[in-house]
Symmetry: C2
Subunit: 184 residues, 2 copies
Amino acid sequence: MGDKAEKTKERILEEAYDLFAQKGFKDVTMSEICKRTGLSRGGLYRYYTGTEEIFSEILSKTYPLTGRMDKKESAAKILEEMLSTLQEEIMDRERSLSLAIYEYASLGNEGFFQILLKKAKKRWMDLMVYGMEQKEFKKVDPDMVSDMILYYYQGLRMWSRVTPLERKAAEHYGRMVREMLLEE
Amino acid sequence: MGDKAEKTKERILEEAYDLFAQKGFKDVTMSEICKRTGLSRGGLYRYYTGTEEIFSEILSKTYPLTGRMDKKESAAKILEEMLSTLQEEIMDRERSLSLAIYEYASLGNEGFFQILLKKAKKRWMDLMVYGMEQKEFKKVDPDMVSDMILYYYQGLRMWSRVTPLERKAAEHYGRMVREMLLEE
């Protein structure tokens, strides 16, 4: 795919993200995405078959990790960057996709989320194993700690949509994960 | 209020809980609650002014705690009981109120949830301070640890509705909280 096509896809995902965060999944239409991106109907359908495909691509986007471990970057540094991204996301209640996730799941996409959760968990577990090998992280049970990291984040993300959170709530999240993994 | 009235209220809350878990908040009507409880419209309105009042009463119900601390019961025992209740709830996806909570919040009840969160947090912090005074719990930062306990639970509760969780996920929750609070 050429550069221009990549950029168009990027723009579609960006605009669709805002719409899903605002309205949930069900109420977002391809026409709206056309309007927001300035694409014609034909132009949009050249890239995506429907809102399902767009939404699932948004959720599947992840922070690049494997390459950095291959290059033997510091596990603590990777962790810091991931946490600072997550903490920003937690406070950014306008961009929470929790409602859209709910709606998308209730349309029979349970299997999709099962795979998504597994992948997210594997990424955290890989980072922990790597950090322990590098002697940067404490000896922890990666299976248990990755569950905590994932669901604790999801809980914050959901509640940030329900009611405004204090910044302290996001800070506690980062501090808890650091205390679990890093030597003092 | 007499015994019979108490029982009727109990039944209303039970039946309404099932409806909210199934359908969210917006789509549940007082007529449905009449049908499920066998009460007449007048009978139901004698107890509650509407679904808002019923829902907020359901969410405000809490595990009794203060009395047990006054009686100097073991903090570890209270913790075990709370965790076993929470773990059951996590696995009971049919009874997750997360969607209803979302909808209720989006109707302008943010303040209600702010108070609810504060109360829930205070209960956990009180238990931690008590457990530390009794020398049963490790020295922790109650402010941070109570956030973890609350939001981690909410994340599990939300995802149990999105996709079936393994029992291990609920077990990890209990184990994490125990490891944070109890000496080995």
